[in-house]
């Protein structure tokens, strides 16, 4: 286990290193001189010279990368042109919304996707299964922003049950503010619940074909007990690991949904920074999301192995 964990952490580190090179290169390949990019186009020649020297842009590119990477490791992701503040603190401001939104979405995904996927698998081959699987495919084919706009139209504009946009922090307005996230999280949950539904169904059907399930049936256990004791747990191992990946992906998938609902999260920060040409923020967000994504993958992979008793063997 430990040797595997080390090896797996090693590959993650290498991937991260390679990804960091791409992310570093980003600021150099966007149109225009990085200095103008960093200072905006209102900079004076003095400022430009000062920054060029300060950033060491007169140095070889390798040194520039090492320099940048060193700053990143110290938690310095540069300064936002628009906010005139450290990028990390700008991202941190959006993190609350994004993390809460992703968490709420995953709750919907879990309570919609998993049980319905189980029902479809247990009723495999019946019209109910075909209907549920078809509905899941339909849900995966609907753009999240379209669902979002309809939710706003129906539940905010017509019925007035939920607010249509924005999100004041729970730390200021109390937990009641979570109602701002209900519609966006539902919109975001639709396609992801569909994916988890299909995965739950497929992995339960896979497990149901295993020899040990036949053994369990041979014992004379009732069908529902066979499902509960032998199929479900083994099938859910795969589903739980997909949960980790989905959560990580949600942090960036929420870009469009956050825009629709005007939520102050990381996704909307990216879009607005693109429109404002605030490149350091874009670079910082990409870096943070890739790091989070890789770390979650690593943790999910390792805990998956921890849950499986077979790994003791290795």
């Amino acid at each position: 286990m430990w040797s595997y964990a080390l090896k797996r952490a090693g590959t993650t580190a290498v991937t991260l290193l390679a990804a960091s090179v791409i992310i570093f290169a980003f600021i150099h390949v966007v149109p225009g001189d990085p200095i103008y990019v960093l200072l905006g186009d209102t900079a004076t020649p003095d400022q430009i010279d000062a920054l060029r020297h300060q950033l060491g842009l007169d140095q070889p590119i390798i040194l520039q990368y090492l320099n940048w990477a060193g700053h990143v490791l110290e938690g310095d992701l540069g300064r936002s042109i628009f906010f005139q503040a450290p990028v990390l603190s700008v991202i941190a401001d959006g993190a609350e919304t994004s993390v809460l939104l992703a968490t709420m979405t995953m709750i919907w995904v879990a309570i919609i996707g998993v049980p319905i996927g189980m029902i479809a698998a247990v009723r495999h081959g019946t019209w109910l299964d075909q209907g549920l699987s078809g509905a899941a495919m339909l849900m995966a084919s609907i753009p999240t922003f379209w669902v979002g706009l309809y939710l706003i139209l129906i539940f905010a504009a017509w019925l007035g049950w939920f607010p249509s946009s924005g999100y004041p922090s729970v730390f200021e307005g109390g937990l009641g503010n979570l109602r701002y996230l209900i519609l966006p999280s539902l919109a975001l949950a639709a396609p992801n619940a569909a994916l988890i539904l299909r995965l739950t169904r497929a992995s339960m059907l896979d497990v149901a074909r295993e020899d040990y399930v036949r053994t369990a049936r041979a014992k004379g256990i009732r069908p529902w007990q066979v499902v509960r004791r032998h199929i479900l747990r083994n099938a859910l191992l795969a589903v739980v690991s997909a949960f980790g990946f989905t959560f990580a992906a949600l942090l960036s998938e929420a870009v469009v949904t956050e825009t629709v609902f005007a939520l102050p999260g990381i996704g909307r920060l990216v879009v607005q920074s693109i429109l404002r040409r605030d490149y350091p923020v874009i670079q910082g967000v990409i870096l943070v999301i890739v790091v989070v994504y890789l770390l979650i993958n690593l943790v999910v992979d390792l805990s998956y192995r921890l849950l499986d008793p077979r790994v003791e063997l290795q």
């Binding site: 991937t15 084919s141 609907i142 874009i282």
Partner: protein
């Protein structure tokens, strides 16, 4: 494809009426795109301030937008952009993914390096990768294709790599190799023909998800220029008027859903026809 081959491919649709319906929707979309100028009742660009935001009526079946443009005509013309982006992304994904995947599988050393690079690209969430590329390249239709395509290049490469490894291990490939067949012969004779069916499945899924990706970019104002009619652009514009003109939201959105759903249905039907050995290469995602 021979006649026998064609019947084999039609078979999954015959057994499944809903997949056949999906095929029908796609056919209608293609026809709409091809004959848009003749099918559309009005000029999609013609502005008429007198009839701003009229609900659906006898003259304008799908109503009009905030400039008085006919929604039905714009919806029909948008089919062109949908097909252009979809096929562009598919072509890009296949044109890059197939060579990289096949060569990686045949030359393990090169393959190891290339697949590690694919892994690195896969560490970037697809939409974020697309947005980053749009920042670098600037918003345009061609760049939207490229930006979305890169995300599917990685999945296609993975799938082709997995399939080619399987094919390579098959005895007849080994046998033809031991008889001195060259790599080009091997690829042309044994690998590519076997990749056709699974790639058709992959193409339908990529086409479907490219629709959704393109709609998202359009919606964010980072895809096709706003003056070009596209379902995503129409939705982006309709946003401001959702309470006053809900029909502007309905029709373009329905078209996106209909095409993406149809493509998924077709891909699903084709996948079920695949050789079981190949089917597992398509994991939980498309």
């Amino acid at each position: 494809m021979s006649r026998v081959g064609a019947t084999l491919w039609l078979q999954p649709f015959m057994a499944r009426p809903i997949a056949l319906a999906g095929l029908g929707v796609l056919l209608v979309t293609v026809l709409a795109a091809a004959f848009a100028p003749w099918l559309a009742p009005f000029d999609p660009y013609a502005i008429d301030p007198m009839i701003r935001l009229t609900p659906p009526n006898a003259a304008h079946w799908f109503g009009t937008d905030q400039f008085g443009r006919d929604t039905l005509s714009r919806v029909i013309h948008s089919a062109r952009m949908a097909l252009l982006i979809g096929s562009g992304v598919v072509v890009f994904a296949l044109a890059t993914g197939v060579p990289i995947g096949v060569l990686s599988a045949l030359f393990p050393r090169l393959g190891h390096l290339l697949m590690r690079m694919v892994d690195v690209l896969m560490a970037f969430p697809a939409l974020l990768l697309a947005l980053g590329l749009i920042v670098i390249l600037g918003p345009s239709v061609a760049n939207a294709i490229l930006a979305i395509g890169v995300g599917y290049m990685t999945t296609t490469t993975r799938i082709v790599y997995g399939l080619t490894l399987r094919l390579r291990a098959e005895t007849y490939v080994e046998a033809s190799r031991s008889m001195g067949a060259g790599t080009v012969w091997l690829i042309g004779k044994h690998i590519l023909p076997n990749l056709v069916s699974p790639l058709l499945v992959q193409a339908s899924f990529v086409f479907a998800f490219a629709q959704l990706g393109a709609a998202s970019l359009d919606f964010l104002g980072l895809g096709a220029p706003p003056e070009i009619p596209s379902w995503g652009n129409m939705l982006a514009e309709s946003r401001t008027f959702i309470t006053r003109a809900p029909w502007l939201l309905f029709f373009p959105g329905m078209m996106i859903v209909a095409t993406a759903f149809s493509l998924n249905l077709v891909g699903d039907a084709l996948r079920d026809r695949l050789d079981p050995r190949f089917r597992q290469v398509f994991g939980e995602k498309g």
